[in-house]
C-alpha cells in the first residue's frame, strides 16, 4: 500500500502493479474465459474476504484479479443495458461460464431460430398450407428437435441462474412448464402418427417471446398487462350497459316476429354486442324502425353511450395509464442503468484511487464489454466520458457511459466539401454543382417536376378508363421524368458527396425510389411481366412533395423514429394472432366452404352459384367462404378482417351456424383482445406524437446543443502527445497485443499532416430514451435523489449507495459483508 500522490496524466505512467482493485469480483477467483473446462477449480469464495493480504494469497496475481473485475463490471453494464435484474447476476464460476455461453449473439440467434421454427411449423402441420404440407413424422420430429434445443437452452439458464433463482424467475418457469407439455404432446403425436386436437400449440409464441431479441415484445406485453386493470373496469361498465340495453331491447322489440335481432335474450345480447362494433348498424335497427319511427331513439341512445362515450373513455383510461407506465418504465430503466454503473464503477476503481477509473481499467472493461471495438474508439470513448479532463473518470463522468458507448467515431472533416482537396478547375465545377443543388430554386424546381409528374400519372391513369392491361412499350413520359430524376440524383451525389447525400433519410428514400423506377424501366423494356408491379410504384415519387411543409417533415420524421416501436407492437399483435389462429384452426378448420351456412341469416355471403345473365353464365359469388380457418395463412387474413371489424359478424354467424353457439365466445373474445391491443396501439401513437410535439415545443427556444437533426453528436479533441502516451501504455502493459493498428493509424495520419490535434466526432441516432431524458430533466434529479436516499436506508444487494454518501470503499466492503 503505497501512499503515492496521484499524477495528473495517469495514462503517461503505467499503474503500480501492487495497487489492486478496491472490490473483488463476486466470482472470487482467477478465471480464464477461453478455457471452458476450468469450471470447478475453486468454488469457495462468492464473497471476498476483507484483507488485502489474504486476498492476494488466495487469488494469485493482481493482474488476474483485475481481469476478473473487468469481466464482472462488463457483465454489470450489460445487465444494465439489457434491463436484466441483478438477482440473476452470475455468482460463481460455473454460473459465469453458463452466463457467458448464454449471452452472445450466436446463442441469441439459436433461441430466435428455434422459436421461429416452432411457430413456422404450424404452416406444415395438420390443416397445413397446401404447398407446404409435411408428413406427420417429419413435422413431429422437427418439433421434437426444436423442443430439445429449447430444453438445452433452459439447461444453460439453470446452470447460470442456479436452482433457487431459476425457480423464482417466473417467465422461465412458465416456459419450462409449456416445454414439458409440448414435449409430451409431440411424443404422443409421433407415437400415434396423427395430430390430435392440439390447442396447446397456441402457447408456442412463449418460446419466441422469451428470446433475447424479442425484449421489445416482452415490454409491450408487460405494458398491455399493466393497462389491463383499468381497462377491464371500464369494459365491465360497457358490458353492463350492453346487458341492460339487451334486456330493454328484448322487452321493446321481441313482440315483432319479423325482428330476428331481438327475438330471444341471447340474440338481443349478441345483436347489441355486434352493434358495439357498429358492424350490423343500420340493419339491426331497420325492422324496429320500419314499425315505429321512434324506436331509432333506442339505438341512438345506445350508440351514444356505448360507442361515443364509454369506448372513448376506455381510450382515455388506457392513455392515462399508458402515460404513467411509460414514465415509470423510463424511470426504472434509468435507475437500473445507474445502479449497474455504480456496481461496475466499484469494481473498476483501485484501492488507492477510489474515486476514479483510469484509462487502463477502462480499456480492460471495454475488452470484455465490447471486444470488437477498436483501440482508437475505446480511447475516444474514454475521452468523451472524461468531461472534467482530469486523468481519471469520476463516477459522475462514468454515469454518461450508456450515452457515449453507442457513438460511431469519425475524424471531423477539416473542409466542408468532399472536393476541397481537388485541383482548382474541378473544384470550381463541383462547387458550382454544390451551390446549385443546395439552392432553393433547384429544390422548388424539383418539387414542380414531381407535382407535374403526379398530375401526369393521374391523368394518364384516368385516360386508361377501359382498364389497365400490360403492354411492353415504354411510355415516353416515363423516360422523360426518370431522366430528370436520374440527373437530379447524380447532381446531388456529385455536388454533396455520397456521404453527405446519404445521411438524411429523405435522400435515401429518393434514391431507392429512383432506383426502383430504373428497375421498372428495365422490367418494361425486357417485358418481364411478373415484376410489373415495380412500374406501379411510380406514384410513390409524389411522397417527396411532403418535404415542403414542416409539419409533414415532423410527422414523417417521427414516424421513422417510432418505426422500431411500431414494429414491435405489430409483432405483439402477430403473436396474439398466432395463438388465436391456432385455436381457430383446431376448432373451425374445414367448417366453412362455398354454399355452407344455409341455415344462418348470412347465407347469401357464402353462396357461390352460376347465374345465367343474358346468354352468359356468370359465377355469382358471396366470397365469404374465403374467410376461413383452413390453414394458418387463411386464419391470419380472417383474423385481420375480424380486427378491421366491419362485417365481422358474417364470419361469426357463418361459423356459428356450422358449429355451436359457443363459437361466438371465440369471436367475441378475439374482438375484446384486439380491442385492448388496438386501444393500446392508439394510445401509444397518441402518446408518442404528443410527446414529440411537446418535446419540439419545449426545445424550440434553447438552441446550440450538441445535437443535430438526426442524432446525438459528441466531439473530442485528441492531442498527439496523448495518442503517443496511450500507445506507450499499451505496449508496456500488454506487449503481445496486435490490435493497436487503429490508434497507430491516428498517430500516423497526424504525423503525416503535421497537426498536433485532431477533432473526432461521434454520432448516433436519437432514441426515445434521449427524448425522455430531455423531457424529464427536472424529475430525473428528484428520482436520483430519491434513489440515493432509498439505497441509503436499506442498501439492498442490488443497489450500491450513490457517490454522494459513499464514505469509503473500505466501509462499503464491510457493509456488504454484514449484509451477506
Amino acid at each position: 500500500m503505497q501512499g503515492e500522490q496521484e499524477s495528473i496524466v495517469c495514462i503517461s505512467r503505467p499503474e503500480q502493479a501492487l495497487d489492486g482493485p478496491a472490490l473483488t469480483s463476486s466470482f472470487g477467483l482467477q478465471f480464464d474465459i477461453v478455457d471452458g473446462g476450468g469450471y470447478d477449480i475453486i468454488n469457495n469464495a462468492a464473497i471476498p474476504t476483507p484483507g488485502m493480504q489474504d486476498y492476494r494469497a488466495q487469488y494469485g496475481t493482481l493482474r488476474q484479479s483485475w481481469e476478473v473485475n473487468y469481466q464482472e463490471a462488463a457483465i454489470y453494464l450489460q445487465e444494465g443495458e439489457n434491463n436484466d435484474k441483478f438477482f440473476t447476476h452470475p455468482r460463481n464460476p460455473q454460473a459465469l461460464a453458463a452466463y457467458l455461453f448464454a449471452h452472445n449473439h450466436l446463442f441469441y440467434m439459436m433461441e430466435l431460430v428455434t422459436g421461429l421454427l416452432l411457430m413456422v411449423l404450424s404452416l406444415c402441420e395438420a390443416p397445413a398450407v397446401p404447398s407446404l404440407r409435411l408428413d406427420v413424422y417429419v413435422h413431429a420430429t422437427l418439433e421434437l428437435f426444436a423442443l430439445v434445443m429449447v430444453a438445452f437452452e433452459l439447461c444453460m439458464k439453470l446452470r447460470w441462474l442456479g436452482f433457487q433463482t431459476f425457480i423464482r424467475h417466473k417467465r422461465t418457469m412458465v416456459k419450462t412448464c409449456v416445454l414439458l407439455l409440448q414435449f409430451v404432446e409431440a411424443i404422443v403425436v409421433l407415437v400415434r402418427q396423427t395430430s390430435h386436437v392440439r390447442v396447446t400449440r397456441a402457447l408456442r409464441p412463449i418460446f419466441l417471446v422469451d428470446c433475447r431479441y424479442c425484449g421489445a415484445v416482452r415490454r409491450n406485453l408487460r405494458q398491455i398487462f399493466q393497462s389491463l386493470p383499468p381497462f377491464i373496469d371500464i369494459l365491465l361498465l360497457l358490458l353492463f350497459f350492453m346487458v341492460i340495453f339487451s334486456i330493454l331491447g328484448f322487452y321493446l322489440f321481441s313482440h315483432n316476429a319479423a325482428n330476428q335481432y331481438f327475438n330471444t335474450l341471447e340474440n338481443s345480447i349478441v345483436s347489441l354486442f355486434v352493434l358495439l362494433t357498429t358492424a350490423n348498424f343500420p340493419d339491426v335497427m331497420m325492422p324496429a324502425y320500419s314499425q315505429n319511427r321512434w324506436s331509432c331513439v333506442f339505438f341512438i341512445v345506445y350508440l351514444s353511450i356505448e360507442l361515443y362515450f364509454i369506448m372513448n373513455l376506455l381510450l382515455a383510461v388506457v392513455f392515462d395509464t399508458f402515460n404513467g407506465v411509460e414514465k415509470m418504465k423510463f424511470k426504472s430503466l434509468l435507475l437500473h442503468k445507474r445502479s449497474a454503473i455504480d456496481h461496475a464503477f466499484q469494481l473498476l476503481v483501485s484501492r488507492q484511487r477510489p474515486n476514479g477509473v483510469s484509462f487502463k481499467q477502462f480499456d480492460g472493461l471495454m475488452r470484455y464489454y465490447r471486444p470488437r471495438m477498436s483501440t482508437r474508439d475505446r480511447f475516444l470513448t474514454f475521452k468523451a466520458l472524461n468531461q472534467s479532463s482530469a486523468a481519471m473518470l469520476s463516477l459522475k463522468d462514468f454515469y454518461n457511459f450508456y450515452e457515449v458507448i453507442g457513438l460511431k467515431w469519425k475524424p471531423r472533416k477539416s473542409g466542408e466539401h468532399w472536393f476541397d482537396d481537388l485541383p482548382h478547375t474541378p473544384f470550381l465545377i463541383f462547387k458550382g454543382i454544390n451551390i446549385l443543388v443546395k439552392s432553393k430554386a433547384f429544390q422548388y424546381a424539383m418539387y414542380v417536376v414531381v407535382a407535374v409528374n403526379g398530375v401526369w400519372i393521374l391523368v394518364e391513369t384516368f385516360m386508361l378508363d377501359k382498364g389497365f392491361s400490360w403492354s411492353p412499350s415504354v411510355p415516353w413520359s416515363y423516360i422523360v421524368f426518370l431522366t430528370i430524376y436520374g440527373v437530379e440524383m447524380l447532381l446531388k451525389i456529385t455536388g454533396l458527396g455520397p456521404l453527405e447525400y446519404f445521411s438524411p433519410g429523405w435522400n435515401l428514400f429518393d434514391f431507392s425510389i429512383t432506383l426502383l423506377a430504373f428497375l421498372g424501366l428495365i422490367v418494361v423494356a425486357f417485358g418481364m411481366e411478373p415484376f410489373y408491379f415495380i412500374v406501379v410504384l411510380r406514384p410513390l415519387q409524389l411522397l417527396r412533395l411532403f418535404k415542403i411543409k414542416t409539419r409533414y417533415r415532423n410527422v414523417l420524421d417521427t414516424m421513422f423514429e417510432l418505426f422500431p416501436r411500431m414494429a414491435s407492437l405489430g409483432l405483439t399483435l402477430i403473436i396474439f394472432y398466432y395463438s388465436f389462429a391456432i385455436v381457430g384452426m383446431e376448432f373451425f378448420a374445414g367448417v366453412i366452404y362455398p354454399n355452407c351456412c344455409n341455415t344462418s341469416t348470412v347465407a347469401d355471403s357464402y353462396r357461390q352459384v352460376n347465374v345465367t345473365v343474358g346468354n352468359r353464365t356468370v359465377l355469382d359469388e358471396g366470397y365469404y367462404y374465403l374467410n376461413n380457418f383452413n390453414n394458418i395463412l387463411n386464419s391470419f387474413v380472417t383474423l385481420f378482417e375480424l380486427t378491421v371489424v366491419n362485417n365481422w359478424y358474417i364470419t361469426m354467424e357463418g361459423v356459428t351456424s356450422q358449429t355451436t353457439h359457443w363459437s361466438r365466445l371465440y369471436f367475441m373474445t378475439f374482438y375484446i383482445v384486439t380491442m385492448v391491443v388496438m386501444t393500446i396501439i392508439v394510445a401509444f401513437i397518441l402518446d408518442a406524437f404528443v410527446f414529440r410535439m411537446n418535446y419540439s415545443r419545449k426545445n424550440r427556444e434553447p438552441v446550440g446543443d450538441p445535437e443535430d437533426e438526426n442524432g446525438i453528436v459528441f466531439e473530442v479533441e485528441v492531442m498527439r502527445a496523448e495518442v503517443v502516451a496511450t500507445l506507450e501504455l499499451y505496449k508496456q502493459s500488454c506487449p503481445g497485443t496486435t490490435s493497436l493498428s487503429s490508434l497507430q493509424g491516428v498517430q500516423l495520419s497526424m504525423e503525416r499532416s503535421g497537426l498536433s490535434s485532431v477533432v473526432f466526432r461521434g454520432r448516433r441516432s436519437r432514441t426515445k430514451s434521449d427524448l425522455s431524458m430531455r423531457m424529464y430533466e427536472e424529475e430525473m434529479q428528484e428520482w436520483y435523489e430519491e434513489f440515493s436516499r432509498e439505497s441509503q436506508v436499506h442498501t439492498p444487494l442490488d443497489t450500491l449507495p450513490p457517490p454522494s454518501i459513499r464514505p469509503s470503499v473500505q466501509d462499503l466492503r464491510q457493509r456488504a459483508h454484514s449484509i451477506n
Copy 2:
C-alpha cells in the same frame, strides 16, 4: 376634499356626501334607467373631464354620478362574465339604453325562440313531416315574422354598438347578410306561393348560434375551426395516400373484369375512400383475394397506413391542438375577467379612498349586477370577498368576485342532524335510523339486494324466451324488490333528512329510479299499455352497483361534471346535421323509395318483395329505402347512420344511382365533416378525462381545502353588531328601501337565539374553470405578471394597469386622457 382618516368599520358610518367617485362613467351623464325616453338629454361627454369642480357642475349631484358608475361597473362585470369584448362596451346613453334592452333574459329568450322557430320551420316546409305539413303561405309568413324579429334584434344591436363597431363585428355582419338573403327568399316564396330550391336554409342555424344562450356552441365552433389547420394538413396526407393507392389498385386489379371496385380510376378512388371508413372492408378485397391470395397484402398495407396510423395521427394532432387551445381559452377568459374587475374597481373607488371599495359602493354595484339578490346575500358576499377583514375591499379581494358571486348562502347548521331539536324519544329513534342508514352493512345489504334483483331480471327475461308480450298481471318479484327499495328510500330520507339525502347526485338518481318503478307498478296495475316502457327501465336500478368501486364513482362523477360541455358538443353536431339535412332534402328528397336503385350494386338493400315461403307470403325487405331524405326527421336519422359509418356506402350508392355521380361529394363531405367533429369529441373526452385524472392525482395529497366533494364552499361569520350597523346604514342612505327583510330576518333570528354571531355557508357546484384554476395555479401567476407588464407598456383602452404599479387614480385619469 376632506383629509379624514379612514375608520375601521366603514359600514357604521355613512360616507361623506361630497366624496365622489374617482373615475366617472363613460356614459358621462346622469341617467335614469327606468326612463327610456331620456335618450338624448346630454350626448357630449364620453370622456370625463379631469377636474372635480367641472364634473359636479356638469353632472348634477354626487349621488347620481355614483349611480351611473355603479351601473357601468355592473356592465363591465357582466361583460367579463360573458366574455364580451370591451370594444362593444356602450359608450353613450343611447348605446346604454340599447345595451340594457338587449341584455336581459327576456331579450335572450326572444332571440332563442326566433332562432328555434326558424329551425323548426323546416319540419313544416316543402318536404315536410307528413303530420306537420303547413301551407306555403303559412310557413312563409311565419318565417317572415321570425326574420322581422331577427331584424329588430339586429337594430337594437346596431343602436348599442354604433355603426363603426357594428361593421367591425364579424359575426353580426355575417348574420346581417344571411338575414337579408333569407328575407328576399322568403318574400319570393310568398309571392310565388311555392318553395324553390332553398339551400340557403342550411344557413339558418346562424341565427340560433348567435343567440346569447348558445355561447357554448359558439365556443365549440371556434375550437373546431382552431383545430382545423393541423387537421387539414394530416387529412391531405391521408387523401394523398388514398390517391396513390387508388392508382396502384387500379393498375393491379383492373384487369380482373369481375372486380367492380377497381375497374376505373374513379371507382378505385371511391372504393378506397369507403375503405378508409372500413365500411366495405372484406368485400372490396374479396374479388382480388379469390384470384390471388397475396393481393390481401395491398389491403393490409393500405389499412395499416391509413386507418391505423394516419387516422390516429389525426387524433393525436387534434388532441395536441385541443390541449393548447383549451389552455389558451382559459387564460384569455381569466385575463378578460381580471381586466373587467379592474375596470369595475376603478369605477367603484372614491377619490378619497382610491384603494378600497366600501360596502355602500359594493351594494350599489350589486343593485345593478344582481337586482334580485337579497340584502343579506349582498352583505354576505361582501364579507366573503373581504378576506383582509379591513373595512374596504382591496383590488386583491375584489379579484375573487367571480368565484364568490355564484354562491348560495345558508346559515350553517348548529347541529349535525335535522332531528337534533326533537324531543328525546323520537331523537333516539331517528338517531338509530341515521346510524343504521350510514352503516356499511346496510349499504352492502342493499348492494346485495340490487345484485339479486339484477340476476332475477336476467333470469326472468331469459325464461321469456318465446318473446315478451304485454300482460297486465304484476309479477310478485317486482313488488318485493320495489318494497325493499321503497323502505330503503324512506329510511334514508328520515335518517338523513331530505336536505342531506338529496345533496349527492347518486341519491337523486336512486330516488328517481325508484319513483319510476312505482309509476311502472301503477302502469302495470291499471293496465295502461302505451306506458309499459317504464316497467322496462327497471334494470337501470343495477347502475347503483357501480357506486361500490372508486373508479366508477370517479368516472360517473366526471361524466356528470362534463355533461354540460357534452350537451353543447351534441348541439354543435346537431347544427351541422341541420345544415346537411337541408342540403340533402333539397337535392335528394323523394329520390329513394322501395325497389329503387336497381342499376346499382346495392339494389338488394332497397328491395321490398313478397316471397312465398311454404304456404305463407312473407315480405322480404331490404329496408334501406327507409334511410332517405324525405323530411327533416328522416334526414337526421339517415345522417346519424352516416355518422356511425357502417354500411354508409349503401345509402351513398343508392342515392348516386338515382341521381348523379356528384352526389358522392355530398356524402364524402359529410363524412369528413363528421370525422372532424367526432375527432374533436374524442379529443375532448380524452382531454377532459386525462385532465380530471391528473387533477385528482395532483390533489390527492393536500387535504383540508374549503371544498367538499360536490362543490366550492365558503364560510363567513357574521357578528350581530355588523348586521345592526349595516341595517342602520341602509336606513340612513335610502330610507325608502323595503327590501331589507332578509337582513332583518338574520337580525331577528340572532336576537331570538341570543347568539352574538352566526356562520353562513355559501356553496356552489364546481366548474371546469375551478379545476383549471387549480391545475394551472403556477402558470396563472406568470400570466398575471405578463398581463400587468403588457398593460403597463401600452395601456390600451381595454386594460387598466394592475394594482401593483398603479400610482394614483389621478395619474390614471390623466393617462387615460392622453391616450384618448
